[in-house]
Structure formats: structure tokens, C-alpha cells
């Protein structure tokens, strides 16, 4: 079904004449967007407004599995999109399993066929839950694993499937924790928490906890868990020693803007090298897994933020740079040559079955990036009041500077 989609037609160029000047969008053949959200959808299955920011995203066979973040007072969803049918097939309101939750913004950790995630509860002081979810192609089964840290939500989560461990960052205090799936044993590490002094420091920059906590965690090939901690530091948890280590080198910094530093995204290369995106000024960086040397790889565009990274089947690193008050650029980084190619603001046809021709769709704010297991597609989850899922084939990405 993927290839039934066409490149945007000449008709779009006519449309361009109305409002646009000369520029080109990167719209490879086979790219598409799935209408996940639509307020008042009638008979169609869609997520309602203000409950659909796609803040957790995983690919599982033909399925894109999402977890959303809702506005205060509203509850989030788990959802499943069939990539071959290009359609939202299942929407699961988390209220049915765990009432009082606002967000599944942790990202998913996969262990076997199960996906694990963490929630953030409504209001202050209520604890977020760890959840285990499985999807059988028709429905979600959700298991509530409880509140790992009393009074704390779960801001970021990852899993080590070999050790059958989950690792997370709590919210709002930013504590690192581990969760042993077999025993449900939780261990909390206070070292990553924001101190009172750091709060004062961030206060001067009008930065909140949400602005500075490690937005993502990643497990490397040695089982170490990587994240960032205040202020601008990189840490790893070593399962061999059961200890946290803050490495000597910091996140790459633009002078004077150190308080902005935090891990926005991570990806581990096939060779074990760790890549990260720094939210502060949108720099890509690399950590050598042996020497622990941190290299600043620069930034693909002029904006802060790098909310997502994923490796494609071609061995290149795909990502999103930029966010509000700007908007997203899709880029590809060649880890061998060090070249960036800015593919611009992603625009693809939105699937609207009732309309014969394509709806051009642009992804402005992107919360999540992941790749299908075969690396052939990069999936982008929007971060909007009405968010959609964007699918881009790796095959279509140019080998050199574009356009």
C-alpha cells in the first residue's frame, strides 16, 4: 500500500502559485501522513483535539504504536496505525486502565513483544505509572505496573531487553531510576535530580524542570544507560557496577547558553557509537563508547532543539532539528563523511480517503522520531493540538546536497 502514493502532482505547483515563491519540498515517493487526529470525526476513528501530541512512538512490524500527551485535565491515548493501510486502526484511552493521567511522554522501551512506558499524572504531586502494553493487531492490553516513585511522573524511559530492565527519569525532580521487570524492584538514584541551587540557577533563565530534564535515555551496546543531568552534564548508568557516572565532558555548548543543555534525543549506531541531540542549541554530538570523548558535530539548522534521531537502513542518521518558535527540518547526517543534508520542512500527502487526490501536509512541530525495524522508513510524530503521523522512506533521501 505504501507505494500507491504518488509524488505531489503538478496541481500542487498551481497551488504554490497562490502563496509561495520558489522553493522545493522534500517529498519522496512513498511518503505519506496518516490522519491520526480530527476533532468531531463523525464515523471515522480519530483522536480528539488537545489529547494527541505524539510524544511516544515505536514501530512494530506493520504498525506504528503511539502514546500521546494531553492538555491538563484531559487523558492520553495509546494508538496503532497500520502502515500498509495508512490508517489509524486502534485508539485506546488510557483512562480505561489508569485514570488521572495526562501524558505518555516517556517514549517506549521494548522488551520482547511488550512495550513499556511511563505516564505523568494530572496535577502536582500525583505519581506517574509504569505501564506495560502489548498490541495484538486489534487491541491494546495494558498492565499497570504501579508508581515507581511516589509523587513523581515519568519523564523519560528506556529498556534493556537483555537484562529485562527499565530505566527512567522522574518528573519534576529528575531522579534516575531502574526497574527490574521480573521482581518489580525499583532503585532510585538521586544524583541526577535538580538541586535547590540549580533551581535558582535555572530560575534566572526562566527555565522550568520540563525545559532541562533529560528528554530521552538510551541503552548502548554494553548495556550502559545514557542521559543528561543538570547542568549540561552527561551521565551513564553502568549495570555492571550499579552506579551512575557523570563523564568529564559536557554537552556541547554555545558560550553563555550552558543552562539550556540537555539530551533531547539519542540514537546508537550499528557500530555502537552513541549519538545525541542537544536541545539547547540543536547540536548533534557523538560519544565514543570506549574513550567517552564527546564530539560536537555542529548543527544542521539555525534553530535550537533536536527532538528526534533514528538510523535508517542506509546507515545514515536521520533526525528532526528545530521546534517552536521555529519549525521542524528533517535532516540526514552521514556519520562517515560528516555531511549534513537539510531536507527542509517535511511535506507529504495526507491520506484522506474521502478525497480522490492528495492533501499536501506539512509537519511543523515534531515530538518523536523512530525508524521501522528494517530501517526503511522514518516515522515522525507530530506535536500539535491535532497531530498526525508522518512516514518518510529512507530510499528517497538524496546522497548529496539537496535540492
Amino acid at each position: 500500500m505504501l507505494n500507491r502514493l504518488l509524488l505531489l502532482s503538478a496541481a500542487l505547483l498551481l497551488c504554490a502559485a497562490q502563496a509561495r515563491a520558489e522553493y522545493t519540498f522534500f517529498t519522496p515517493e512513498g511518503a505519506f501522513a496518516v490522519e491520526v487526529s480530527l476533532e468531531n470525526p463523525g464515523p471515522r476513528l480519530r483522536l480528539p483535539i488537545y489529547r494527541n501530541r505524539i510524544t511516544s512512538l515505536a514501530a512494530q512490524g506493520d504498525w506504528a504504536i503511539g502514546g500521546t500527551t494531553a492538555q491538563e485535565g484531559l487523558s492520553p491515548f495509546l494508538f496503532a496505525v497500520s502502515l500498509s493501510a495508512q490508517e489509524l486502526k486502534v485508539a485506546h484511552d488510557l483512562t480505561a486502565d489508569i485514570p488521572g493521567q495526562r501524558a505518555i511522554r516517556s517514549g517506549f522501551g521494548r522488551v520482547g513483544e511488550a512495550l513499556y512506558a511511563g505516564t505523568i499524572a494530572q496535577g502536582e504531586g500525583a505519581g506517574g505509572h509504569l505501564i506495560k502494553t502489548t498490541f495484538n493487531g486489534k487491541e491494546f492490553a495494558v498492565e499497570d505496573l504501579g508508581i515507581p516513585l511516589e509523587g513523581e511522573g515519568i519523564f523519560a524511559l528506556t529498556a534493556d531487553p537483555e537484562r529485562r530492565m527499565l530505566y527512567g527519569i522522574s518528573f519534576p525532580h529528575g531522579k534516575f531510576f531502574s526497574y527490574e521487570i521480573a521482581s518489580a524492584r525499583v532503585k532510585v538514584f538521586d544524583e541526577t535530580a535538580i538541586t535547590k541551587e540549580q533551581h535558582g540557577y535555572y530560575h534566572r533563565y526562566a527555565l522550568t524542570d520540563e525545559d532541562v530534564l533529560s528528554r530521552a535515555l538510551v541503552v548502548d551496546k554494553q548495556g550502559r544507560v545514557w542521559g543528561s543531568r543538570p547542568v549540561n552534564r552527561i551521565f551513564y548508568y553502568d549495570p555492571a557496577t550499579d552506579k551512575l557516572v557523570t563523564i568529564e565532558e559536557e554537552l556541547p555548548t554555545v558560550w553563555g547558553r550552558r543552562p539550556l543543555g540537555r539530551a533531547d534525543s539519542w540514537a546508537v549506531a550499528p557500530d555502537g557509537t552513541i549519538y545525541g541531540g542537544n536541545a539547547g542549541d540543536g547540536q548533534l554530538f557523538r560519544i565514543d563508547p570506549v574513550s567517552l570523548r564527546v564530539s560536537n558535530l555542529g548543527k544542521p539548522i539555525m534553530s535550537p532543539r533536536m527532538p528526534g534521531l533514528a538510523f535508517g537502513a542506509d546507515g545514515r542518521l536521520y533526525g528532526i532539528a528545530g521546534a517552536l518558535p521555529g519549525y521542524a527540518h528533517f535532516f540526514v547526517y552521514n556519520t562517515a563523511s560528516g555531511d549534513y543534508i537539510d531536507l527542509g520542512n517535511p511535506r507529504v500527502p495526507l491520506i484522506v480517503p474521502e478525497v480522490d487526490s492528495e492533501f499536501p501536509w506539512r509537519g511543523f512541530q515534531i515530538a518523536t522520531v523512530t525508524a521501522t525495524r528494517d530501517g526503511k522508513y522514518i516515522l515522525l510524530g507530530e506535536d500539535e493540538s491535532l497531530s498526525q503521523l508522518i512516514v518518510l522512506p529512507v530510499d528517497g533521501a538524496p546522497a548529496q546536497q539537496w535540492p
Partner: protein, 408 residues
């Protein structure tokens, strides 16, 4: 709402060791609190007097993102909040302003002019980042219509630390922070001219003007810079304003923090950051004469200690200034009110204040028709510790009249 604070406890303060002093006591001082702004933190030379309205205007900040504009009505002694700048100027959260750091000056049109500043580190370093600083604004309060007019920004991502007015031709002079660009605004034509960078590591906080509409600033060598209105040229004095032996470069580049004018004799009194009193006699063309009057306080230290970001010239022909602030005090944990007599060249301590009464004072030459001097006061306040970067304090309006009992 009118809130006047009588500080009975201050009566117990020890009078200063006498010179041949006029009897200045706490009866000559009044403190006025700012109503309806519980998280008020500080004031920063952000005070001015309207001769037409007989009112004093003050910008008060929480040193974060909220600046209240207050009006003190001299005849009724009533103080009221006119509004907060974000609402008055239609600013968005990403256009936050940390404070009014400039003077509030009466223009030839009877309107009150001032400018805004960031004041926090995020101004200087975050710039175009979402949490960064948009720009300082030139603003004008129309006391008759009670409307705040936005006269536009200065340079992008730069604040405006101070302004001076050309009350002959309607120009407004400003200095930007942190890049120290002298700015020339013409609100009538909406023209903004960047006269260029004239400082570096520290931005001297004070610009002033003379009766011909010329404006003055200092460069990094503490030399006077003059924008000469008649010629439209920028002049640089050949000589630096003298400093004491041992004065550090850091102090020199900070220049002049305050001025006060003897309008009868045409003298502008200046105080440098390194505590030198100066009499400056401006002239229409060229840079005028500079006379060194010695240290702000009698001290056996060189350079003399202290810090005076304020001064006012009283009807009795004497110059008054407070010494202390930003942890630079002559007497430990004490702010001094000094009197300087230009005729005799003598100076004396007129009053002393503990820091929880007066910890720092700002304001340049704000005086009403009855000879009351108005100054922005701050007092040390532990409960304001988590606010802003610049000390834990609470602000108040300080009224001082060296010749009259002005108690409530």
C-alpha cells in the same frame, strides 16, 4: 491606594558627627511603599518628575518579567499603580522585560519617556533562543491621556540601559546593553540611528543631556562623549575624567553612574564609579570644562570606597547623594546620605541607615517645585532571596528634603 511608611525606629539612629551641619534628621526623610505589587523586588534609577503634573513616576520590578509603573501625586501624597508594562505595552511573554533601568524623563511634550532592560543573564546570553531576550523598548507615558505609547525597540536582543532627552528637538538618546551602542531615536519620524559601539566589557549606566539638547556619555577611558545636536556629530573628549591612583580598569570602564544639575549656574555634577565628584560645565559647542571636586566621602583610602549611583541637587545649593550598594559600603552594613557644599568644597554625612532600612539608592536629580528630592530606595529583605540576580531586596520611594520636615 496610598501607603506611607513611618519609620519610627529610625529616629533612634545616631545623628552623624557634626560638621557645621544643618539639622538634618529623619524628619527630613519619608519612605513610601509601592502598593499592589507584593513581589516587587527593586528599582533602578527608574524615577522621574513631571513638572506639568506635579507627579513623580517610578518603574518598579520583580526583577524577572513584571515591571509596574507607579505615579506619586505630590500634592495629595497618593501613590498608585498605573499598570504593568506587559499589559500597558501589549507585550507577549517572549518579550519579557526585566526592569526599567533608565531614568524617567519629562519631554518637551509633557510626556514621560523611559526605556526597558532585561537585567538577567538570559538577556545577554540566550538572545534569540525561546527563553532569550527580544529587545528593550522605548516607551512614553502620557500623563494626561493616561496611555502608554510604545515607541519601538532599540537593537534586536539588546536592552536599553538608560536614556537622555533632547528637549530642544525631541530626540531621545539611549545606550544599549550588552554591546554598548549609542542610539539616537527620533520618535517623530520613528528614526533610529545607531551611533556605534563606545564601550565594551561594562556598559556605563548613565546618559545625560544639557539645556541645548546635547547628550553625554563616557567611553572606556572614562572620557566624555558628546552628541552635539547642532552639528549632529559625536565628539570625544581628549582627556579622561580624572581618577584616583590605584583605580582599577574595571572601575574606569564603568564610568559615570549619576549626575545632578545646578540649573542656575549651568553646572552638571557627576560622580564616577570610582567615587570622584566632578563639576562639568557644558557648552553649546565642543566639550566643556571639567573640574575635579575630590572624593565622595572623606577617606584615608585610595581610591576611596563606596558606590553612589544617585545624586540630586537641592534648592539650598548643595548636592546630596547616598553612598552604598552592590556590597560597596564605606561603613560596614551602613548606607550614608552625604551632603556636599560646592561653595566650601566640604562634604559631610547627613544621615546613616542600616541595610534593612536603606541598602541602595538610585535616581538622578529628581526634584519637585517644593524642593523635595525623590530617590529610588531598596532595603535588604531576606524574603526576596529567590528573586532575580541582583540581591534580595524590597523597593520603596524615598523622599528627602534637606530644609523641611516632611514627616507624614
Amino acid at each position: 491606594m496610598k501607603l506611607l511608611l513611618t519609620l519610627m525606629a529610625l529616629a533612634a539612629l545616631v545623628p552623624p558627627p557634626a560638621v557645621t551641619a544643618a539639622p538634618i534628621t529623619m524628619n527630613n526623610v519619608r519612605f513610601v511603599e509601592y502598593p499592589d505589587f507584593p513581589d516587587a523586588h527593586s528599582t533602578w534609577r527608574s524615577i522621574g518628575y513631571s513638572t506639568r503634573q506635579n507627579k513623580v513616576y517610578i518603574g518598579v520590578t520583580n526583577h524577572r518579567d513584571k515591571v509596574g509603573l507607579f505615579e506619586y501625586d505630590v500634592p495629595t501624597r497618593a501613590i498608585r499603580l498605573l499598570g504593568f508594562l506587559p499589559e500597558l505595552a501589549h507585550l507577549r511573554p517572549w518579550q519579557w522585560q526585566g526592569k526599567v533601568h533608565s531614568q524617567i524623563l519629562e519631554g518637551a511634550d509633557g510626556k514621560m519617556y523611559f526605556a526597558t532592560d532585561g537585567g538577567e543573564s538570559r538577556e545577554e546570553y540566550l538572545m534569540n533562543h525561546p527563553q532569550g531576550y527580544y529587545s528593550g523598548l522605548l516607551l512614553r507615558w502620557d500623563p494626561r491621556a493616561e496611555i502608554l505609547e510604545q515607541l519601538g525597540t532599540g537593537l534586536p536582543n539588546e536592552s536599553i540601559k538608560d536614556i537622555a532627552l533632547d528637549n530642544v528637538g525631541g530626540l531621545v538618546y539611549g545606550v544599549s546593553y550588552p554591546s554598548v551602542h549609542l542610539l539616537l531615536f527620533d520618535p517623530g519620524s520613528n528614526y533610529l540611528r545607531d551611533l556605534g559601539r563606545v564601550g565594551s566589557d561594562h556598559v556605563p549606566r548613565c546618559i545625560f543631556s544639557d539645556r541645548w539638547g546635547n547628550a553625554y556619555y563616557v567611553d572606556w577611558r572614562q572620557r566624555l562623549i558628546k552628541y552635539e545636536r547642532d552639528t549632529g556629530r559625536l565628539l570625544f573628549s581628549e582627556q579622561s575624567i580624572q581618577w584616583f591612583p590605584g583605580t582599577t580598569g574595571e572601575q574606569i570602564i564603568t564610568g559615570i553612574p549619576t549626575y545632578a544639575t545646578d540649573t542656575e549656574l549651568g553646572i552638571i555634577y557627576l560622580i564616577t564609579y570610582s567615587n570622584m565628584l566632578v563639576a562639568f560645565r557644558p557648552q553649546r559647542r565642543g566639550i566643556g570644562e571639567i573640574e575635579i571636586l575630590g572624593p565622595t566621602v572623606d577617606s584615608d583610602k585610595t581610591p576611596p570606597p563606596g558606590y553612589s549611583p544617585n545624586s540630586a541637587f537641592a534648592d539650598n545649593g548643595k548636592l546630596y547623594y547616598f553612598v552604598g550598594g552592590h556590597n560597596r559600603y564605606v561603613v560596614k552594613d551602613t548606607t550614608l546620605l552625604m551632603e556636599f557644599d560646592p561653595v566650601t568644597g566640604k562634604r559631610r554625612v547627613a544621615l546613616k541607615f542600616p541595610l534593612d532600612v536603606v541598602s541602595e539608592v538610585t535616581g538622578c536629580d529628581v526634584k519637585d517645585a517644593q524642593g523635595n528630592l525623590y530617590i529610588c530606595g531598596r532595603r535588604r529583605a531576606a524574603d526576596a532571596q529567590d528573586m532575580g540576580e541582583s540581591g534580595a531586596s524590597r523597593p520603596f520611594l524615598l523622599i528627602f528634603n534637606p530644609d523641611k520636615d516632611i514627616r507624614e
